[in-house]
C-alpha cells in the first residue's frame, strides 16, 4: 500500500471540491503556512456533475435587489426548514464569489455596457441569476479546474475511488483510496479532510443526474456516525426529457418559456401560481417562475386528471419557447436546442418540448455546522453532499452553484486553519483501516460467484425509491420502500464481483457505489416515513398529513447508521432566528407576503 502525507485531503473534484482546494491554498498562502493539498476524484475533475448545471448562479446584483429579499426567497422556498444564520451568511457572500469567478475568467453572459447579465429564476423575487448561456455549470467547472492548475500545492489524484475515511478517537486522520487504473490502495494521511462528493440522484430510476452521482461521500461519513440530515427531501426538477431524464434548464422559463398541458392550457394557474402572466412577459414568482417542488407537484396532479400528453411511453407536458424567436433562443439557450434535437428529435425553435419531472437534487446530506464541519473533528463537507442547512425542504434553482462556491471556499479555509494546528496521526492507525478495506475488496472479488446480482439489486433500489418516495408519497408506499432497502442491504452481503481484474474494474466500482446507495436510501426512506406532514418536496397523500405541521415537524430529521441493524432517526431544532415561519405562497396569493 502506498502511503502519502497531506495537510488537507479533498474528496471530490467538482465545483465544491475545486473551490475548496483553491480556498485552502489561498488561505495557507496568506498565513505563510505552506500546505500540501490532495484532490481526489473518482473521475477527472472536469467530468464531475457540476458540468451539467445549466441555468445559473444566484447573487444579489442589481441596485434594487436586497440581501433581505434573497434571504426571504430562500427561507420560504425551503418551507422554513433552513438554518437561517447559514442563509444569511450565504446571501452576503454570494456576490463576491461570483465576482471572483469572473476574475478567474468565467465567461459570464454580458449586457451591452460590459456588465454581467442576470436572468430570472423560479422562486426568486427578482432577476439575480448570473449565467453563461445555458452551460453555466460547465463554464464554472472548467474555470475552476483550469484555475486550480496555477497552484502547485494542489496535487490531483484523478480516478481514485475513496473507499473509506480513517477516523481515530473522533477525529479524521486520512482516507483510504483505490487507484482505479491499477487496483492498488493508497493511504493518504491528512490533518483535515473535506468531502465534496455530490448528491445521490442515482438512487432513483428516472433522474437528470450523471452516472457518478451515487452518494458515496454521504455513505462514508454516515458509516462513521455523522448524521445524514433531511434526506427525505429530494428535488424533482419539473423539466426533464422523456426517456432519458436529461435536464432542460429552468432558464427556459426564466427567459419566458411556458408550460402547457395536452390541451394547450397553462395549467399552473390552477395550482396557486396564477393568474396567468402574458406571453413573453414572465413575472417573478408567478406561473412558470414558481418553485420546482410546486411545479413538479402540479405535473403529478395534471397526470392524475388525465391532462398530460404522451411521448413514447412517457406522460408529458409541454415547454413552449417558440414565441421567444429563433435568434433569442439560440443566444440564450443553445445547449437546450442541441439536447432536444439530439435526444428526442425536437427543435425547440419550431415545436414545444415534451418534458416531465425527474429527480434532480438531494436537499439533505452530511450534517455540518455553519462552518462546514461535521461531528467528526477535522472532517468537513460542502456542496450537494452536505447539509449545511441552506435548502431546507426545497432548493431554489441557481442557489446550488453559488452554494458550492460560498461553502466550498469556507470549507477550504476552515480545513486549512484546522490543519495548521493539527499533527498527523500515527500511520499505523491508517494501515489497520487500510487492511480492513483490502480484505473487503478481496471478499467482493474472490471469484466465488455471486449469489446475488448487483444489477438486480440496483434495479430494485431505484424502482422502490421511485414508487415509494416520489413526488407524492403515502405511508404504505414509504413503508414498503424502507422494507425493501433493509432487505436489499442484507442481500448485498451475497453480492460478488464477476470481474476479478485489478485494472479499471468498473464492475467493482458499481458494486461499491450500490452499497453506498443502499445505505443512504434507507436513511432517505426512514426520514420520509417518519415525517408525518407535507413540506416542500415531501408531500404526503395520507389523511391528516397533507399540510405543513410546524408544531411537530419544524425540525430537521437526522438519521444515524447502525451497522447491519436498522438506522435510527432523531429530530433537531431549526434555526429560525430571523424569520418566523409563515405561509408559503406564490402568484397573487403571495403578493402581500414578506417573501
Amino acid at each position: 500500500m502506498q502511503q502519502r502525507d497531506f495537510d488537507i485531503v479533498i474528496v471530490g473534484g467538482g465545483g465544491a471540491g475545486l473551490r475548496a482546494a483553491i480556498g485552502a491554498a489561498e488561505h495557507a498562502k496568506e498565513h505563510n503556512t505552506p500546505q500540501r493539498i490532495a484532490l481526489l476524484s473518482k473521475v477527472y475533475p472536469m467530468r464531475s456533475h457540476t458540468v451539467a448545471a445549466e441555468g445559473g448562479a444566484a447573487a444579489v446584483t442589481s441596485a434594487e435587489d436586497t440581501h433581505q429579499a434573497h434571504f426571504d426567497d430562500t427561507v420560504s422556498g425551503g418551507d422554513w426548514l433552513v438554518e437561517q444564520g447559514v442563509v444569511d451568511y450565504f446571501v452576503h457572500h454570494a456576490y463576491q464569489e461570483l465576482v471572483q469567478m469572473e476574475r478567474w475568467g468565467c465567461p459570464w453572459s454580458r449586457k451591452d455596457d460590459g456588465q454581467v447579465q442576470v436572468r430570472r429564476f423560479g422562486g426568486m423575487k427578482t432577476a439575480r441569476t448570473w449565467f453563461a448561456a445555458d452551460k453555466t455549470g460547465f463554464h464554472m467547472l472548467h474555470t475552476l479546474f483550469q484555475t486550480s492548475l496555477k497552484y502547485p500545492e494542489i496535487e490531483r489524484f484523478d480516478e481514485f475511488f475513496v473507499l473509506d475515511l480513517a477516523v481515530h478517537e473522533g477525529a479524521v486522520i486520512g482516507v483510504i483510496a483505490l487507484q482505479i487504473a491499477t487496483g492498488e490502495l493508497t493511504l493518504l494521511r491528512a490533518k483535515a479532510v473535506i468531502l465534496a462528493t455530490g448528491g445521490a440522484g442515482r438512487l432513483f430510476r428516472f433522474n437528470t443526474n450523471a452516472g457518478i452521482v451515487t452518494g458515496d461521500g454521504m455513505a462514508m461519513a454516515y458509516r462513521h456516525g455523522v448524521a445524514l440530515r433531511d434526506m427525505e427531501f429530494v428535488q424533482y426538477h419539473p423539466t426533464g426529457l422523456p426517456g432519458s431524464g436529461i435536464l432542460i434548464t429552468e432558464a427556459c422559463r426564466g427567459e419566458g418559456g411556458i408550460l402547457l398541458n395536452k390541451d394547450g392550457y397553462r395549467y399552473l394557474q390552477d395550482y396557486g401560481l396564477g393568474p396567468e402572466t402574458p406571453l413573453g412577459k414572465p413575472e417573478n414568482k408567478y406561473m412558470e417562475l414558481g418553485p420546482r417542488d410546486k411545479l413538479s407537484q402540479a405535473f403529478w396532479q395534471e397526470q392524475q386528471a388525465g391532462r398530460t400528453g404522451k411521448f413514447g411511453d412517457s406522460d408529458v407536458v409541454y415547454l413552449d419557447l417558440r414565441h421567444l424567436g429563433e435568434k433569442y433562443i439560440l443566444e440564450r439557450l443553445p445547449f437546450i436546442c442541441e439536447l432536444a434535437k439530439a435526444y428526442i428529435n425536437v427543435d425547440p425553435v419550431k415545436e414545444p418540448i415534451p418534458i416531465r419531472p425527474a429527480v434532480h437534487y438531494t436537499m439533505g446530506g452530511i450534517e455540518t455546522d455553519p462552518q462546514c464541519e461535521t461531528s467528526i473533528t477535522g472532517l468537513y463537507a460542502a456542496g450537494e453532499c452536505a447539509s449545511v442547512g441552506l435548502h431546507g425542504a426545497n432548493r431554489l434553482g441557481s442557489n446550488s452553484l453559488t452554494e458550492l462556491l460560498v461553502f466550498g471556499r469556507l470549507a477550504g479555509e476552515q480545513a486549512s486553519k484546522r490543519a495548521a494546528q493539527t499533527e498527523w496521526a500515527d500511520m499505523h492507525l491508517l494501515e489497520a483501516q487500510g487492511d480492513r478495506q483490502q480484505a473487503k475488496l478481496l471478499r467482493l472479488c474472490d471469484g466465488s460467484g455471486s449469489e446475488e446480482s448487483w444489477v438486480a439489486l440496483k434495479h430494485a433500489m431505484v424502482q422502490a425509491m421511485e414508487s415509494g418516495c416520489g413526488i407524492y408519497r403515502t405511508e404504505e408506499g414509504m413503508r414498503h420502500s424502507l422494507e425493501t432497502m433493509r432487505q436489499l442491504r442484507a442481500r448485498f452481503n451475497k453480492v460478488r464481483v464477476n470481474d476479478t481484474s485489478k485494472i479499471f474494474n468498473t464492475e467493482l466500482l458499481e458494486c461499491l457505489e450500490l452499497e453506498c446507495g443502499l445505505d443512504i436510501a434507507e436513511a432517505s426512506c426512514l426520514g420520509a416515513l417518519e415525517r408525518r406532514e407535507s413540506r416542500g418536496a415531501h408531500q404526503r397523500l395520507d389523511e391528516g398529513m397533507q399540510k405543513r405541521d410546524d408544531v411537530n415537524y419544524l425540525k430537521h430529521s437526522q438519521v444515524f447508521y447502525q451497522g447491519d441493524g436498522h438506522a435510527e432517526l432523531h429530530w433537531q431544532d431549526v434555526d429560525v432566528q430571523f424569520s418566523a415561519p409563515a405561509e408559503r405562497a406564490y402568484g397573487d396569493a403571495g403578493k402581500g407576503s414578506k417573501a
Binding site: 467530468r47 451539467a52 449586457k111 487504473a181 452516472g211
Partner: protein
C-alpha cells in the same frame, strides 16, 4: 438506465463488435461481438450499459453525464472518434465496430490513458493571467472586469471545449508525435489569448511557438470535423499560428 430506456417503439437486434483488451489475462486485444435489442432512441452508451448490466459485466468503459457535456465517453465507432452518448445506433447499418480512442495508450477495453492530454492542457497556462490588474480583486469591494458581448464573442466558441479528446484521435500529427500539444490544448491557449481580460499571451507564446506547439499542425482539419461541440479547433490552431508568427517577428525587430 439503459435497460429502462429500451422499452419504447420497435425493438430490433443490432450486432456490435467491441475491441477488448484485458492486460492481466491476455497480452493481445481481441474482438468480442454482442447482439443487442435497440430502438430508435438507443445511443451507443445505452448499448454499452446494456452489455455491462445484462450480457457481460467485465466490459470497461468511461461514461458519466450521458448528455454530451462531461466528455468521458469518447470511443472510435467504425474508425471515427465519437461520443458514445451522442451516437445513435439507428444511424448505422450492418456491423458496428467499437474501439478505444486512437493515439492514446489503452489501459483496458475502451479505457485509454488520458494523462498526456491533461499534461498538454496544463502546459499552455489555461487560466486568466493578469499580473498587474488595474483593480485587484477585493472580496470586501468585489468588482468585475468589463467585457462587452462583442469581446465575449471573440473567444466564447473556443471556451466550449469539453476535453473529450476526440480531436486528438482525429489528429494524424498527434498520432505520430504525442508531444504535440494538440488541438484542444492549443485551442484553450487561444481562448485565453483572445480574452479581453487576459494579459498572459506572452507567457503562453513560448509554449505555443515551439516545434511541438502550433507548428506541428499540418492543417488536416479532421479535428474540427469530429468535434462534438463545434469548437473548431483547426481555426483556433491556425489563428494561433498567425499570432505565433507575429510574436516571432516582433521579437526579431526588438532584437
Amino acid at each position: 438506465m439503459s435497460t429502462d430506456q429500451i422499452t419504447t417503439k420497435q425493438i430490433t437486434t443490432k450486432h456490435i463488435s467491441v475491441k477488448r483488451y484485458l492486460p492481466d489475462s491476455s497480452a493481445e486485444p481481441y474482438w468480442q461481438a454482442y447482439d443487442l435489442p435497440v430502438d430508435d432512441s438507443t445511443s451507443l452508451l445505452d448499448a454499452l450499459n446494456h452489455i455491462k448490466e445484462e450480457l457481460d459485466s467485465t466490459l470497461s468503459y468511461r461514461w458519466s453525464c450521458r448528455m454530451a457535456i462531461c466528455g468521458s465517453c469518447g470511443v472510435m465507432v467504425n474508425g471515427i472518434p465519437k461520443l458514445g452518448c451522442k451516437t445513435f445506433l439507428r444511424d448505422y447499418e450492418g456491423e458496428i465496430r467499437i474501439e478505444p480512442l486512437s493515439h492514446f495508450p489503452v489501459q483496458r477495453d475502451l479505457v485509454v490513458d488520458m494523462e498526456i492530454f491533461l499534461e498538454h492542457l496544463a502546459a499552455v497556462k489555461p487560466y486568466l493571467i493578469d499580473d498587474n490588474p488595474v483593480k485587484p480583486y477585493d472580496p470586501q469591494a468585489p468588482e468585475t472586469y468589463q467585457q462587452s458581448p462583442e469581446q465575449l464573442a471573440r473567444y466564447k466558441q473556443f471556451a466550449n471545449c469539453i476535453n473529450c479528446g476526440l480531436c486528438y484521435s482525429a489528429c494524424p500529427q498527434f498520432g505520430l508525435n504525442p508531444e504535440f500539444l494538440g488541438p484542444a490544448a492549443l485551442t484553450l491557449a487561444h481562448r485565453y489569448n483572445l480574452d479581453s481580460r487576459d494579459h498572459g499571451k506572452k507567457q503562453r507564446m513560448a509554449e505555443l511557438n515551439r516545434h511541438d506547439g502550433v507548428w506541428s499542425c499540418t492543417f488536416v482539419g479532421f479535428c474540427s470535423k469530429v468535434c462534438p461541440k463545434h469548437v473548431d479547433p483547426a481555426a483556433a490552431v491556425n489563428q494561433g499560428k498567425v499570432e505565433a508568427a507575429k510574436h516571432t517577428l516582433i521579437a526579431l525587430f526588438k532584437g
